[in-house]
């Protein structure tokens, strides 16, 4: 296809380095946080304004050029993986905080604003923006919306979908949609729910209005060591079952604890088979009461020790190991592969046992670091990409873990998104009719499949091929499709 008319139109729309065509300039965009997958984009667009975004969409629509939207490129599922024939649309230059409305507890921001920058900007008013994905120092609000990002504190404060009150969205048809409002609950269709987690396949976020939350008066972090994963898993179920919702509740297994301890010396007990970190917040009276209650639950569940961090320094030290857990585990092997399944809380110990058994079968070590409070697992599979076959083995192992999550009533992705990474596992989670419903929904927004094509929802043909390897109950899935 001759793309020179499109190129000259784009170049005219995007002056001052807003269009990148040379290979060296495109190179930084070849991958996102899922770095095992690389692809140079055909071109990179860096619009600075809404008008430029709309113009880029128009040009791409008229020339049939696929668009891959990208925020900060920190996503872990390859949602921003470029296409050789596609324009990579980076929203990073649209990074202005448009309005902080303290009275209404909202902030209106452009999509390229970093997550942490919002909390920093409103801290002087005693407020913060609650969703805090681990990449919050770098990740952008537009990307957070696309992935419905969570974080350590979403157990109490909710995910992105619970904290966005309005969106301005550009559709591929060139329309600008105003969805939601400055207040609660616009009546009627819940467009915001649909946009959050849609992985850039329905529209481009031009502006997001975010709910702000008062900073808690007090925080306390508790660290409890357990003699087994099962005991820690039971403690989690008992705590949540007791009616207490901590701000965060995180679990690390022995391998993760040791790796973190070797790396940052956070003072974690090395003999723990499992470690729970529990953050409680609220008013001073509330925190005093909930910490007493939590310590009781942990002790009753067989905790070996419970430590309490009251001041900010001690709390930071306690969190240090958890926050450094991924890089710490990264030192144990040349590569690791991070999974993201969610399961019902009462199945935690059973699933962790199964993962440990699979780890032996595959001959690959696994460290578990995860959001225990909401059952969101992050098994880290250790492998060496330089050993022929190990990457494939890690991927197969990871896929098996996700399918196990589905089997026990969970999901293949809690917060990282499907992207390109979990397309095969989507086939395990959803039958063809559900996938076709997703496709019809997508077509209502983007009939010609120009926005982030090939992500998030697998084709039935792909599922038929995957399904050939997983025959459940002797029934061949997708019997009406041809086999390849």
């Amino acid at each position: 296809m001759n793309r020179s008319p499109a190129i000259s139109a784009l170049a005219q729309t995007l002056p001052d380095g807003g269009l990148i065509l040379d290979e060296a300039g495109r190179r930084p965009y070849e991958t996102d946080g899922l770095s095992a997958i690389k692809q140079l984009p055909w071109a990179v667009a860096l619009p600075k304004s809404e008008e430029q975004v709309l113009e880029v969409l128009r040009i791409c629509r008229e020339h049939g050029i696929p668009i891959v939207p990208r925020g900060a490129g920190t996503g872990l599922s390859g949602g921003a993986r470029p296409r050789a024939d596609g324009l990579l649309l980076s929203l990073s230059r649209m990074n202005r905080i448009v309005e902080i409305d303290v009275d209404n507890l909202v902030a209106r921001v452009q999509p390229g604003v970093r997550n942490l920058a919002v909390s920093e900007a409103v801290a002087e008013h005693g407020l913060f923006y609650a969703p805090d994905p681990s990449s919050q120092i770098a990740c952008s609000i537009g990307g957070n919306v696309a992935e419905n990002a969570g974080g350590v504190h979403c157990l109490k404060y909710g995910l992105t979908v619970h904290n966005v009150v309005a969106l301005r969205v550009a559709t591929i048809d060139g329309e600008v949609l105003q969805l939601g409002g400055h207040g609660h609950d616009a009546f009627g269709i819940d467009w915001l729910a649909l946009m959050c987690g849609s992985e850039g396949m329905l529209g481009i976020v031009l502006e997001a209005t975010l709910r702000l939350t008062p900073l808690p008066e007090e925080k306390r972090v508790l660290m409890a060591a357990f003699p087994s994963l099962a005991a820690a898993g039971d403690a989690v179920a008992a705590l949540i079952g007791s009616g207490l919702i901590p701000a965060g509740l995180e679990m690390m297994d022995a391998l993760a604890v040791q790796a973190a301890e070797d790396f940052v010396h956070a003072g974690y007990p090395r003999d723990a088979a499992a470690l729970l970190l529990c953050e409680l917040d609220g008013t001073a009276a509330e925190v005093a009461q909930t910490s007493r209650q939590t310590i009781e639950v942990f002790n009753a569940s067989g905790a070996l020790s419970v430590e309490v961090a009251e001041d900010a320094d001690a709390q930071a030290r306690m969190w240090l190991g958890r926050k450094a857990a991924f890089p710490a585990v990264g030192r144990l092997a040349p590569d690791y592969y991070c999974m993201d399944g969610t399961i019902p809380r009462h199945r935690i110990s059973e699933v962790l046992d199964a993962i440990a058994r699979m780890s032996q079968e595959y001959g690959l070590r696994v460290a578990n670091v995860f959001h225990a409070g909401d059952g969101n697992l992050h098994p880290l599979i250790l492998y060496d990409a330089n050993v022929p076959g190990e990457l494939e083995k890690a991927e197969t192992f990871g896929g098996a873990i996700l399918e196990l999550c589905v089997e026990v009533g969970g999901t293949v992705t809690g917060e990282h998104g499907v992207g390109v990474e979990k397309l095969d596992q989507m086939c395990a989670q959803f039958p063809p009719a559900e996938l076709e419903q997703f496709m019809r929904l997508k077509a209502a927004f983007d009939e010609h499949k120009l926005l982030n094509p090939g992500k998030a929802v697998p084709t039935l043909t792909r599922c038929a091929e995957v399904g050939g390897m997983h025959v459940h109950d002797g029934k061949l899935p997708f019997p009406h499709l041809e086999r390849f």
Binding site: L105, H162, H184, D190, G197, I240, E286, H416, Q437
Partner: protein
Amino acid sequence: MQAWIDQINEARAAGRTLAIQGHGSKVRAFGELSADGVLDTTGFSGIVSYQPEELVVTVRSGTSLNELEQALKENGQQLAFEPPRLEGRGTVGGTVASGLSGPARPWCGATRDAVLGVRLINGLGELLTFGGQVMKNVAGYDVSRLQAGALGAFAVLCEVSLRVMPIPKAQVCASRAVAEEEAISTMRGWCRQPLPLTGLCYSEGVLRWRLAGHADAVADAQRKLGGEADDAGFWEALRDWSLPQQNFEQAARRVCPPGDPIETTDKLIDWAGGIRWTDQAVAGAHRLATTPALGRAEYALAVRLKQAFDPSGIFNPEVLRANEPS
């Protein structure tokens, strides 16, 4: 459910429309939905699964809200979004489809925030499952939450999985007289503080609030706020739309930025300013019977979205029509 699928398939074949109806508890509020036939959901009722320690309940859509709330109460839990119980009637399906949330909404979330998963039947007669029973789930588009507030425009709900929450250990209700010109600034000021609020409402010169949570925290906050102690009666009535200002034959509601000044037509201000019950239809307000008009682009998209679920336009045909731009 097969009966519903058959009914939907027959309607599609015959080019007929269906009104989805449970107990009809919201007919007075939203108006009668006219269609060629009625799909009655009340026969499909019962709790499918409930594990209190998971904070999740899965319920058939025809289950009465009363039955569900009773089961939760026995386990010290509740629906945090406080849906209105209209004269003790209403089904879980209707509750979710109408997306109505009670006084605790600004602090404890809306109906849609509690929706974790659904089984539904689309206009093609396909029984589909979306979401699940876990808190975090980003696999595929969020078709589950899309059903909350959609008033049955897309599909018939069969089962819904809802997040439930513990009933707070302690609750205090109180009130004090506040001049109208200070009402909004007082409410907004309190919302900026980390107080354990679950209700903040102003009407006729009286500011009422509700605190809930752990006993010490509630007592501590109440000491700060002062006022006179009340019982919970006002909040129950507010939730159930049985206050005189909520008489929906005359009243309309408007959702607005909570910090907006009070208009003379605002008779009852809930959600710390975020929702106003007015005594007449004013700009931006609407009777419960109608949902507000959408913008041109949003409406066109809503129509395409409906077609994606219900291409023959079988379900509640009036719902979307009410959103048509004027």
